[in-house]
Symmetry: C2
Subunit: 309 residues, 2 copies
Amino acid sequence: MINKLVAKIQKTHAPIVVGLDPMLNYIPEHIQKRAFDQFGETLEGAAEAVWQYNKEIVDCVCDLIPAVKPQIAMYEQFGIPGLAAFKKTVDYCHEKDLVVIGDIKRGDIGSTSEAYAVGHLGKVQVGGKSYYGFDEDFATVNPYLGSDGVKPFIKVCKEENKGIFILVKTSNPSSGEFQDRLIDGRPLYEWVGEQVAAWGEEHMGDSYSYVGAVVGATYPEMGKVLRRVMPKSYILVPGYGAQGGKGKDLVHFFNEDGLGAIVNSSRGIIAAYKQEAYAKFGAEHFGEAARQAVIDMAADIDGALQAAK
Amino acid sequence: MINKLVAKIQKTHAPIVVGLDPMLNYIPEHIQKRAFDQFGETLEGAAEAVWQYNKEIVDCVCDLIPAVKPQIAMYEQFGIPGLAAFKKTVDYCHEKDLVVIGDIKRGDIGSTSEAYAVGHLGKVQVGGKSYYGFDEDFATVNPYLGSDGVKPFIKVCKEENKGIFILVKTSNPSSGEFQDRLIDGRPLYEWVGEQVAAWGEEHMGDSYSYVGAVVGATYPEMGKVLRRVMPKSYILVPGYGAQGGKGKDLVHFFNEDGLGAIVNSSRGIIAAYKQEAYAKFGAEHFGEAARQAVIDMAADIDGALQAAK
C-alpha cells in the first residue's frame, strides 16, 4: 500500500491528502436541508448530510489526488449513524481508487492494540469466517504506550500490506508540552522519530517503509531534523492552510527524490467555498471550490519544491 | 460523577471496576452458538454474543461493584455491529446504576478532541436538537498532544458533570520506552502526573477531581510516587490479576482515607470460569464464576488495605 501511495503521488504530481473532517457547519444549507427532510434533525440526518457532502467532494477531487484522510472523531461524535457514514465514506473512496488514511489515533496495550489493528486494517475472525470492520489502508497511531502498543499494528500491516503513521510531532500549539521536553539533550519527538525509523525497518516497501510518521507543518524546523532521523518513513504533514502552514514551510519534509511527504489539508479544501478566494463558486458548487483549492494547493507545494531545487 | 463514583465505592466497599473486554474466545460456547444460530457467523452474530455475555455478567455482579469499564477496541474490531453492542452495554449498565468508564484512549488536536468529547461524554448538536452519541460517564484520554488535546474533554466534562482518566503510566511491559525517560531528572510520567493534578484543579468534585489518572498495577513503586504527585486525582489502576498485579501491590495507590484508587480487572473476572480456581462453576455458570471472582478480588484488596493500616 505504501508502494501504491508513492505511485499515485508520482502520477498525480500532488503529494496531497484531503482531510474528510466534516463539521456540520461546513456543510452547505441545501445538503443539510435535504438530509433533515429525509431523516429529521437526528443522528441519522446528520450522518446522511456528512455522507452526501463527502461524496460530492470526493467526486470533484478524486482524479487530482492520491489519498483522503477521514478523521474518525468527526463521525464518532454522531454515534453509530456517524460511524456508519465513516465506513460508507471509506468504501466509496476505495471505489474511486483512493488510498484511505484512517485518522484514528488509536493506541493501547498489546492485545487491545491488536483489536484496533484488526478492526481498522485487518480482518476479524468470527467462527469459521472473517470480516473487515472498517478497512482503511493506513491508520494513525499514538506512540505513548511504546513498542507493544505499536507492534500489533505492524503485525496486521504485514498480513494485509497496509501501513501506519505514528504521531511524532503534532501540529497543535501545545504539542510541545511533552513532545519537546529534552531527554539526554534531545527532544522526546526525536526519540519517537528514531523509534519510528527502527519499527519501519520491520516492514519495508520498495523505497519507503509501511511505517510512517505524523509531523505538523506548523513546525518546519523540526520537520527538517525529523526528515533526517527517519529517511525511509513517509511523513504525513497536517497543519497546512487553516492551521497556518504554507508550501515554502514544507520543503524540508521532502527527500531529495521529491518524495517522502504527503501534506494534509481539511477545512482549507472541503470548506473552500467559505473562503473569500473561492466565494465565487457559491455554496451550491462547494465541490468545484474544493477542486480549485486542491489545484492551488498542488501548485503552491510544487512551486516551493521547484524553487528549492 | 466523581462524587457518585466515590459514594458507590464507599457503599460497596469494593474499589473495583470490571473491565468488559469481551474477546470471542472468552465467551462460552453456548452463548456463541445461540448468537450464531440467530445471526450466522457474521459481525452481527459476534456482536450479539458479546452483548449476551456482557448482560449476564453485569446481572451477576452489578450489586457488588461501583463501575464497569468497557474497552471499546474489543467492540470496534467487529465494526458497526460491534460498536452498537458497545452502546447497548453502556445503556444497560446505566439501567443497573453502574458508573461507566469508556476505555477509549482518545486524544487529538483541539477541535478533534472536542468531537471525541462530545461523542463520548456530551451531546452533539444537530440543527435545533441535541443527542448523546455513546454517553459514557468517564473516558480515558491520551496526553501525548498536551493541554489543547485534553482541555476540550474537561470543557465537556464541566457541562455534563462527567470525568476523564488520563494515561500517566500504563501497565504494559514497554510502557517505559517513552514514559520512563528522564526529563530534568524526573521521568516523563511524573511530568504528565503533575499536569494531571493541574488540569484537575479546573474541575473539582467534593473531595476528588473529575480529572483522574491511569497508572498500572504492574508498577507499584511508581504508583507510590504518583499518588503524592496527584493527591486529588482518582487513580484508575489496570493490570490486576491477569497482568500480574496483586492486592498488596495496590496499597500505595490509595490515600489514607482509603479512597483515591479504583482497580480494574477484565479477563480475571469476566473469564473467571476458565481459571482453575473457578472451574467448578462450569461454562454454563460463567456469570456466577465472575461474581465469585469479584468477591475474592474485593477481599484481596480490602485485606491488603487493612493490613497496611
